[in-house]
C-alpha cells in the first residue's frame, strides 16, 4: 500500500507544483477567476439546452457556467473517477435512484437548512413533498436539492382501443388486464400491453396500487406481503395471458407507434419520443393516470442537484441552484427540454396545466412515491426483484421458489 500511495502521490505532487507555478505566473487573477466559473455535469444529452437555460444567470452574476453532458450509461463510471481523483464538477445532477450511492461516497456538500438559509428558493417546502428535504436525506443528511421530476402514467392508443370496442383507457389494473387480453386477440405479433423487462419500478408501482409497501415501518425491505403477492399475480398474469411480448429487445416506442402494444406505462419522455417518431399519430393517443387497485400511486423519479464538497465556489454554486429553483426557470426548462418541474409553484402554473398531457402528469405527481433509498437499488434490490419476476415469466420457474430467492436476496436490506 505504501508503495502504491507513493506512486500516486508523486505524480499528484508534480502536477500540483506545476499548477501552483501556473497560478503564481498568472499573478493575482488566479484566485478570483476561479470563483467566476462553475462546472455543471448534466445527465443525458441536454447540455446545449442547459447552456441556454443558464445564460441569463451567467449574464447577471458574471459567472461562466461550463456544462458537461454525461451520457446516462457512463454516469457510474464518471462519478467513480471523479471521487477517486477528487476532481469533480461544482454541481452535479443525480438521478434519484443513485442518490444514496452518491451521498455515501461523501463527495457531496451537506445542504441543510443553515447552509441554504440565504437562498429562499431552496427552502424544502417549495418542492414536491415526495423529494424535498428529509424525503431524500441519506442517513439524516440532505446532500441535494430537487431539480426535475418524472412520473409514470398510462399511455394508450385511443384509435386502436376504439377499433376493438374499448371506449376509454382502463382505469383499474383489472380492466387493463381484460382490455389487454382483448387487444392481444387481434392476431400474431399483436399484444395488449408492454412490460419493460428492465424496469424494476413497475412491480413496485403495482404493489403500491394493491395497497402495499415494500419497506416496513422499521425501514427494512420486505417483499413477503399479500399485497406484493397480488402484484406478482398481476404482473405474471399479463404473460400468462399472452398479452405482452416476451422478447427483451422489444422497442417500446416502435411497439406503441405501430400499435403492436397499444397500452403501456411510461414517463413523459415517451410522449416526446412518440411526437418525434410518429407525428402523424397526433390525437390518436392519450395519457391517463396510472391504473388503480385500491390505490393509484405512481413512481416519483427524476433528478436532484448536488454541490461537490471540495468546490472552491460554494456561494456561486448555491446561487446557481437558487436560480434553477425559481419557478420561471423551471417552466423555461420544461419549455426547452420537456422536463417536469419539482417546484410546486411551477407545477401549478397555468401555462403548464393548460396542456392536457401535463395536467395528467401534474395530477399524478401528487400521488407518487420514491423507490426506497436502499444502498444499491439498481444493482441489488431492483435487480433481484426483476430476476425473480423474469425467471417466473420467461423460464417458467416456480413462483414460490422464485419469490423465496427474492426474499433471501433482499432480507436485511434497509433504507437506514
Amino acid at each position: 500500500m505504501k508503495r502504491s500511495r507513493l506512486a500516486v502521490a508523486a505524480p499528484v505532487a508534480v502536477v500540483s507544483i506545476i499548477a501552483l507555478a501556473g497560478c503564481a505566473g498568472g499573478g493575482g487573477s488566479g484566485a478570483s477567476s476561479d470563483s467566476k466559473e462553475l462546472t455543471v455535469w448534466v445527465m443525458g444529452d441536454s447540455s446545449a439546452h442547459f447552456d441556454e437555460l443558464v445564460a441569463p444567470f451567467a449574464e447577471k452574476s458574471g459567472i461562466t457556467v461550463d456544462t458537461v453532458a454525461i451520457p446516462w450509461d457512463a454516469v457510474d463510471q464518471k462519478f467513480t473517477t471523479a471521487v477517486a481523483s477528487g476532481n469533480g464538477p461544482d454541481i452535479i445532477q443525480i438521478g434519484v435512484s443513485k442518490l444514496r450511492t452518491f451521498a455515501e461516497s461523501g463527495a457531496l456538500l451537506t445542504l441543510d437548512e443553515s447552509a441554504l438559509a440565504d437562498y429562499p428558493n431552496l427552502a424544502s417546502d417549495n418542492f414536491l413533498d415526495g423529494v424535498a428535504g428529509d424525503a431524500t436525506a441519506v442517513a439524516g443528511d440532505v446532500v441535494s436539492v430537487p431539480w426535475v421530476s418524472d412520473t409514470r402514467v398510462l399511455y394508450s392508443r385511443t384509435d386502436v382501443l376504439a377499433e376493438n370496442g374499448i371506449t376509454e383507457p382502463p382505469a383499474t389494473w383489472e380492466a387493463l388486464r381484460t382490455d389487454a387480453m382483448t387487444l392481444a386477440g387481434r392476431g400474431d405479433g399483436q399484444y395488449g400491453y408492454y412490460i419493460p423487462q428492465w424496469d424494476s419500478s413497475l412491480p413496485v408501482i403495482m404493489t403500491w396500487d394493491q395497497g402495499g409497501q415494500i419497506v416496513t415501518d422499521s425501514g427494512e425491505i420486505d417483499f413477503d406481503t399479500p399485497e406484493f403477492e397480488a402484484a406478482v399475480d398481476l404482473y405474471t398474469g399479463f404473460y400468462a395471458d399472452g398479452s405482452v411480448p416476451t422478447n427483451a429487445d422489444f422497442d417500446q416506442t416502435q411497439g406503441f407507434t405501430s400499435g403492436a402494444t397499444p397500452m403501456l406505462v411510461s414517463g413523459p419522455y415517451l410522449a416526446n419520443a412518440i411526437e418525434a417518431a410518429a407525428p402523424e399519430l397526433d390525437g390518436k393517443w392519450t395519457v391517463s393516470p396510472i391504473p388503480s387497485g385500491t390505490d393509484n400511486t405512481s413512481l416519483l423519479a427524476g433528478s436532484n442537484l448536488g454541490v461537490w464538497g471540495s468546490t472552491d465556489n460554494k456561494d456561486g454554486a448555491l446561487s446557481l441552484l437558487d436560480f434553477l429553483s425559481e419557478p420561471e426557470t423551471q417552466l423555461t426548462w420544461y419549455g426547452i427540454d420537456s422536463q417536469l418541474p419539482t417546484v410546486k409553484a411551477a407545477l401549478e402554473d397555468a401555462s403548464l396545466t393548460a396542456d392536457p398531457l401535463v395536467a395528467v402528469y401534474a395530477e399524478q405527481l401528487k400521488d407518487s412515491a420514491l423507490l426506497p433509498l436502499v444502498p444499491n437499488w439498481d444493482g441489488e434490490t431492483g435487480k433481484a426483484l426483476l430476476d425473480a419476476l423474469n425467471s417466473i415469466v420467461l423460464t417458467g420457474t416456480d413462483t414460490k421458489t422464485a419469490l423465496q430467492t427474492l426474499f433471501d436476496a433482499t432480507s436485511g436490506t434497509s433504507i437506514d
Binding site: 450511492t101 455515501e104 422478447n247 430476476d387
Partner: protein, 292 residues
C-alpha cells in the same frame, strides 16, 4: 559494458510500460481484494477496512459469479475452436491466389476486427431484433417462426458467439497468412513431385508447419474469450437473467455499477489465476517444434 547494457536499454521502455500497466494493477487488485473498498472508501481511504478472505468466500457462494464463470466457459468452448478453425480455413483459401480479388478479400475479412464495437453492436442489434430484424424476416420468408435471438437463454449465447467469431476471425486470418508466407516452397514442390493433391499438401505439409502459428493463435484466442466482454456488454447487458453475463461483465457490473471494488478485485484475481493456469498448462504441454 556498453554492449552489455544495450539489450536492456532496448527492452526497458516495454518493461516499464508492462510493469506500470500490467503488473502493478494486478498487485493493486490483489491488495484491494482483501479490503471492503467501495465508493465511500475511494473518497476517504481511512474508512477502508481489511477483511481478509471475506470477499473470496462471499464470491464462491455467489450464484451470479458461478453463472458468469459457467457462461464464460461455454463461450470459450464454442468460440475458440470456431475462431481457430474458421480463420485457418479462410487463410488457406486466401493464400491460394495472389490476384487482386483475393487481396481485396483479405481486407474484407479484416474489416470487422477494426470496426468500433458500438457500430457493430448497433448493426447486429438490428439484425437480431425480434420485431423488425433481418434474420427473422428471412426466416419468415421460408415460413419459419421468429427466433428470440437475444432473449432466449440458450439462443443468446449462440448469437453473441456468432458476433464475436465474426469479429475475431479477421485478425487471426492475417496472422495465419503471415505464417503461410514462411512455409518453404521446396516442401510443397517436393510434395507436388510426389503427386500429392492440393488437399493432401495442406493437411500433411502446410498445417504441420503452421503448428507454432496455430499454437499462438489458440493461446491468444483463449485468453481473449476468457475476457469476453464487449459483445454482451453492448448487445445484452448480460441478460436475459444473467444468461449472457461473462466474468468480465460481472466484474464490471460489481465494480463500476455497484462500486464494490474489493469484491470485484477478488473476482478479477480469480479470473487472472484461471487465465494464468490455462496458459501455463498449454505452454507445458506444447511439444517443441524443432522439425523445421
Amino acid at each position: 559494458m556498453k554492449a552489455r547494457s544495450a539489450p536492456y536499454l532496448f527492452i526497458a521502455p516495454t518493461m516499464i510500460l508492462l510493469l506500470a500497466f500490467g503488473v502493478l494493477p494486478i498487485l493493486i487488485a490483489l491488495f484491494v481484494s482483501f479490503t471492503d473498498m467501495n465508493l465511500a472508501g475511494l473518497g476517504n481511504w481511512s474508512v477502508i477496512e481489511f477483511i481478509g478472505l471475506d470477499n473470496y468466500t462471499k464470491l464462491f457462494a455467489d450464484p451470479d459469479f458461478w453463472q458468469a464463470l459457467t457462461n464464460t466457459g461455454i463461450f470459450a468452448i464454442i468460440g475458440v475452436p470456431c475462431v481457430v478453425i474458421i480463420s485457418l480455413v479462410i487463410a488457406l483459401l486466401l493464400n491460394r491466389s495472389g490476384n487482386w480479388f483475393f487481396k481485396a478479400l483479405r481486407t474484407f475479412y479484416f474489416v470487422p476486427a477494426i470496426t468500433a464495437i458500438v457500430a457493430i453492436s448497433l448493426v447486429w442489434g438490428y439484425l437480431y431484433n425480434t420485431q423488425f430484424g433481418l434474420f427473422n424476416y428471412i426466416l419468415s420468408l421460408v415460413g419459419l417462426p421468429p427466433v428470440q435471438w437475444l432473449s432466449d437463454p440458450v439462443m443468446v449465447k449462440v448469437s453473441l458467439v456468432l458476433v464475436a467469431v465474426w469479429r475475431g476471425t479477421g485478425l487471426n486470418v492475417i496472422i495465419f497468412l503471415a505464417a503461410l508466407q514462411g512455409v518453404p516452397k521446396e516442401y510443397l514442390e517436393a510434395a507436388s513431385l510426389d503427386g500429392a493433391s492440393e488437399f493432401r499438401k495442406a493437411v500433411s505439409v502446410v498445417i504441420p508447419l503452421l503448428r507454432f502459428a496455430i499454437f499462438f493463435v489458440t493461446i491468444t484466442t483463449i485468453i481473449a474469450w476468457l475476457q469476453f466482454f464487449d459483445e454482451p456488454f453492448v448487445l445484452t447487458k448480460g441478460g436475459p437473467l444473467g444468461e449472457s453475463t461473462s466474468v468480465s461483465l460481472f466484474l464490471y457490473q460489481t465494480g463500476f455499477s455497484a462500486s464494490q471494488f474489493g469484491y470485484a478485485s477478488a473476482g478479477s484475481v480469480i479470473l487472472f489465476a484461471i487465465i494464468a493456469a490455462i496458459t501455463l498448462i498449454q505452454l507445458r504441454t506444447r511439444r517443441s517444434d524443432d522439425d523445421y
